[in-house]
Point group: none
Chain length 274, copies 2
Amino acid sequence: MISSIAELISDRIGTMPAGERRAAQTLIANYPLIGLKTVAEFSAAAGVSSPTILRFVSRLGFQNYPEFQSALQDELAAQLQSPASRTLNPASPSGAISPMLEATLENMRETFRHLSDRQLADIATRLAERRGKTFLIGGRFTDPLARYMAAHLAIIQPDVYHLAGQESIWRDRLIDMGKRDVLVIFDIRRYQDSLVRFAETAHQRGVQIVLFTDQWLSPIARFARHVIAGRTAVPSAWDSSAALFVVAETLIGAVTRQLEADSAKRIRDLEGLR
Amino acid sequence: MISSIAELISDRIGTMPAGERRAAQTLIANYPLIGLKTVAEFSAAAGVSSPTILRFVSRLGFQNYPEFQSALQDELAAQLQSPASRTLNPASPSGAISPMLEATLENMRETFRHLSDRQLADIATRLAERRGKTFLIGGRFTDPLARYMAAHLAIIQPDVYHLAGQESIWRDRLIDMGKRDVLVIFDIRRYQDSLVRFAETAHQRGVQIVLFTDQWLSPIARFARHVIAGRTAVPSAWDSSAALFVVAETLIGAVTRQLEADSAKRIRDLEGLR
DNA sequence: CAAAATACGTAACATAAGATACAGCGCTCC
DNA sequence: GGAGCGCTGTATCTTATGTTACGTATTTTG
């Protein structure tokens, strides 16, 4: 069974004429990046002419050069996204640790790899500067994350509201939202229409939206000021929100730190109320 | 110092207009492959027009799109050749974020090290065997975890209830609970008296308790049939529930697998109801 | 050794990709 | 509330990329 283009090549390289073989060798040697460049560059690197490259590609079974490039890109995408290719990583202790945990840990690393300190700091600052109100809402499975975040933020600053209950209830809250306010939305597949509509209206009212979503980006990303794309794929029937959860905790921590002085006093006051 | 295009983007994303920011977010979420595709594909994925993509690229300092693509390819080439460089964003130790992530990951490993597959399997089996009802409840910060778990379990089996609202409300629900039922409680420091009392009464009625708590063990552990102790310490003002969250997800997955046949049908039926 | 077949490169072509000009729109700031 | 600025998309243009046709070179075979 042939699963990668590299295998396909080594399978057929024996039957190729000299020029195409040079093309094949060049591609294998710089796999797969040479194949993503133009035909002219590829041919120059291999020391053959452009048509030879095209004949080579065609011999591999591709209709045209772009199709060949797409295949390479898909392969690369799979490699970059799945931790499978990194199982060589000696840090992962063998044994009966569930693949679920491994995938989750990898999701978190991957999520944070695509997330700069700067970006998180910007969002934290936005949440910490107390110009307006902060609203949080989530989808079917992610609403608990919104609640979790709201539960913490509400302690360190005023005017934090979790939007819960029926759609009509939180839709009506739009009336209270304006330019100075921030709306934090959690939305992963399958994206909920009601949330998208809600986000759109809020956006029109000038509300700044912070979106927690998966790597495929909820349509709400269109309206969002900040987008956090977390990895959700795990070997389970369900998607995992764990990576987003950790990002949320990280943000909570960052906001708390920024509000250090204020929040310390506020927390003391709250304690006093008990 | 800026070493990668991803960093360059997160550095300037703050100064970008909305459309270009969407381009940036899309690229980061699918880094770097979207950038290797054509302008048209990139723009479609980001939901903006081609010129916006080109302006975005130009703002990053590239003369034209091919030059931008070459830079991405060079970066990718370097990454593919030395897997070592694929470690975490090397520029992050400065921020207070990386330690947070590291601690969280370590918490999870540690949590699972003290958790045998057998134990998880037992709990999953208990939750899967449909003899009685399943109730879930949590404390101030952990109730969202209870909700999260309830949201999933309720889909794959009947008689799953999250206990919410005022104490008096869920206290009254005790009347419905008996030997055949399971109560899942989330309780970490500072342990809530109300929850402890609730657990005690439930225990007296013969309810089997599954407790999610921290490494210091909530007093509820006295009454619990199964105890899951997660690590919660992170360099932050707050404790982290992330490890417990991951255990919860793992359990959800395990229960779903055990109910495979039943739940598949049930999920299909639910889809039909939409 | 000769003749045919195959392979390869040059050069012309067509097409699809990136770049640009411009107009409409929304936003911000007086 | 109005004027100005800046951002965005449509439509057009230009470039360069992939493709193909064809002639020459090379190898193979009878």
